[in-house]
Amino acid sequence: MKKVKDIFTPDLTAVSENTTLRETARILARHRLTGVAVVDEKGKVIGFISEADLVHSAFPSRFGTADDFLVHNFVHLAREMSQVGEKLVKDFMTEEVVYLTEDQTLAEAAELILGRGLKIVPVLREDKLIGWLERGKLCEALMKEGE
């Protein structure tokens, strides 16, 4: 059976806990990622922040979902999002990071990603980031594995 190291994306894109949410949104959009690891100055992974966390930062009471009024009132929605732009990652990141290691099997990756409904999971070696695995890539690998 294939392992995480056979299919993960070796990429070290990350933010720090003092990165602003505006900057984080830019990085996620340009890299086309749905979440990114938060690392300290030595590269140790200390958190994870997703696009859902960005929405949640503006609409905390809605558990990450803008309510109907805001969605249909674009000016208000944009203002709400803009106001949180200068807030910092450290106040909205998940500190208990769910992660994979390169020697874990696809079954273990599937249990974690599909079992918990995650879109992207960082891959770590010891406590350092070495890449990430996306749900789409995992699904593709599982389909091939089943052929």
Binding site: P10, D11, L12
Partner: protein, 312 residues
């Protein structure tokens, strides 16, 4: 792990035409290859083939940037690029099949913002404590001033990581002020440096020693397509390829020399042996038609055939 920084990478499109007419419609062209290019990128591919762990960094953008990033990853290279708002450049290399002449059109590259420059520097600071060496080189995209190289070399020096600096003269001098470990000036376009035409060993030695006097530890100057002069504060060699070598292409040769030497130095080999690795990679590359080497064995087979002649 070795980090490479290519501030202005490119997608190189090599196009073959039966006969090239400038200023005319050229029909019957075939795209021979499409591959990521740039000095640090080329070094990354070679180091990976030799078995070193590499992290490639720089500024990319758009679909061309995504293509470049994907190709590196598929070849086992870890990426850590900063995305700029504009598209990564595409260079066109047109080969006239009748005359074997090449016409190269290199684009300038995307605009990079101050914010994106800071993002790259902070990523580098985070990764350097794990790095054996830093390789930086190539042209700069719009918005990035030559002192960018001074800053990167200074950051690496603070972390005690040796830097290899591989650029053209226009951006060479600010970087040298930060005292990189090894410098390879790219003199292919002009054959000149510090106002001198580098047409003799004496002139090459003179400009190399000028850089040594500025605090650089090793200087590498190419000559005769594939041979190299290597100078330190107290020694100098001319590294010469075996006579049987038939040069098919020099497209990736200069960067292969750098990559091979970096491999030798990063794996704690002495300087003469590192030079041999560089020359072997260079020779192996020149024997292919516009292709990179694809195995360690291709490089290794020339190791014992490289001649080092003491000069100076």
């Amino acid at each position: 792990m070795i980090i490479t920084v290519t501030p202005n990478p490119a997608i190189d499109r090599l196009i073959h035409v039966p006969k090239f007419f400038a200023g005319k419609l050229n029909r019957g062209a075939e795209v021979f290859s499409v591959s990521p290019g740039g000095k640090g990128i080329n070094v990354s591919y070679l180091l990976q083939v030799l078995g070193e762990e590499v992290v490639a960094s720089g500024f990319i953008g758009g679909d061309a940037g995504r293509y470049l990033e994907e190709d590196l990853r598929e070849n086992g290279i870890t990426t850590n690029f900063v995305y700029a708002a504009e598209e990564t450049r595409t260079n066109y290399i047109v080969l006239d099949e009748s005359s074997r002449e090449q016409t190269q059109i290199n684009a300038k590259g995307p605009w990079v913002s101050a914010e994106e420059i800071e993002e790259l520097k902070s990523g580098l600071k985070r990764l350097l404590p794990e790095a054996k060496m830093l390789v930086i080189g190539g042209s700069l995209p719009k918005g990035v001033e030559p002192d960018f190289y001074f800053d990167l070399i200074s950051i690496a020096n603070e972390k005690n990581v040796r830097t290899v600096f591989n650029v053209r003269e226009e951006v060479l001098h600010p970087g040298i002020e930060a005292k990189p470990f090894l410098v390879k000036p790219d003199v292919r376009a002009t054959g000149r440096l510090y106002g001198k035409t580098l047409d003799s060993t004496e002139k090459r030695l003179e400009v190399a020693q000028k850089m040594i006097s500025q605090g650089v530890e090793v200087v590498l100057v190419g000559f005769d397509s594939i041979n190299h002069l290597v100078v330190t504060a107290d020694q100098a060699w001319e590294a010469v390829a075996p006579e049987m070598v038939r040069v098919m292409s020099t497209v990736y040769a200069a960067d292969a020399m750098v990559g091979g030497m970096v491999y030798g130095l990063a794996t704690e080999q002495d300087l003469p042996q590192a030079i041999r690795w560089g020359m072997s990679a260079c020779v192996a590359t020149t024997m292919k038609v516009d292709e990179r080497v694809s195995s360690r064995e291709e490089v290794q087979k020339f190791l014992d055939q490289i001649r080092l002649k003491e000069v100076g």
